[in-house]
């Protein structure tokens, strides 16, 4: 898995590629915690190049979302493949995360909620 961090219209965009399995989840958690600890409570996670996400990766997203919520923050997800979306649906995570079609829509969603 590779993780990169960009800014689009001032919003932090984390792009992941490969598998978010039990091994990659450790690095993913470190990255999200690092961003939150820098005081950033709202971010976008781009799933465009993700093969799959296992429950270890879902756990990281859940922890991060719980951490930013008291500060009015949120984590917006985008660019999910049909297979990744299926895992979110099965887990019930589709109803606890804001999932947008692409990065532009995710940036717009954050602007509207501010």
């Amino acid at each position: 898995m590779e993780i990169t961090e960009d800014k689009i219209d001032g919003q932090v965009v984390i792009s992941l590629s490969g598998r978010i399995d039990s091994t990659a989840a450790v690095e993913f958690e470190e990255k999200l915690i690092e961003i939150i600890d820098k005081g950033k409570n709202t971010m976008i996670v781009d799933f465009l190049r993700i093969q799959f996400i296992s429950s270890a990766g879902l756990r990281v997203l859940l922890l991060a979302a719980k951490k930013v919520k008291p500060y009015g923050g949120k984590i917006v997800l985008c660019d999910m493949s049909k297979d990744v979306r299926e895992v979110f649906d099965i887990s019930g995570f589709s109803s606890i995360f804001d999932i947008q079609d692409n990065v532009s829509a995710a940036v717009d969603a954050i602007k509207k909620s501010n």
Binding site: S54, S55, A65, K66, V87
Partner: protein
């Protein structure tokens, strides 16, 4: 074997057997081997990803929960491509644990009340077409299969 009408009868069983220790560092190697094997057998990427996800859940569970001692244990994973499906079999000598009878998580809870426990097993039970558990002597034997056409 030539059937006389130009069709070749293919050998129907293709087999991968992996032995690994109950150690999280083994997970990437197992995933790599299974991915290569299934790719080579022309299983489509969507099915391969579902299988890799399920294997990650199952071996993580074994490593985290099957053993109370600090000893190293051998776990066996068998993967077959046969008659339009992929069969997995996992065998460990850990404490008796039947994932198929575990309480499923409540996936309708709000963010505040959501907990991640049991989600991995729930994913395996939902993504695979069939999951069966048997205790054979000192071994947990879990069989899971998925159609290569879905």
């Amino acid at each position: 074997m030539n059937l006389g009408n130009g069709m070749q009868l293919m050998t129907s069983t293709q087999h991968l057997t992996l032995h690994f220790a109950n150690n999280a560092e083994e997970a990437p190697r197992i995933a790599r081997r299974i991915e290569y094997f299934l790719h080579d057998k022309k299983v489509n990427d969507s099915i391969i990803n579902k299988i890799l996800l399920c294997v990650d859940e199952l071996i993580t569970n074994i490593i985290a929960h099957a053993y109370n001692d600090k000893q190293e244990h051998a776990v066996l994973l068998d993967c077959k491509v046969i008659d339009g499906r992929v069969d997995l079999e996992l065998r460990d000598d850990g404490v008796q644990f039947d994932p198929t009878t575990q309480t499923r998580p409540d996936v309708k809870l709000s963010l505040e009340n959501r907990d991640i426990g049991g989600l991995g097993i729930h994913l395996v039970m939902t993504l695979m077409d069939k999951v069966e558990y048997q205790r054979e002597g000192d071994f947990n034997v879990l069989k899971a299969s998925i159609s290569t056409n879905s």
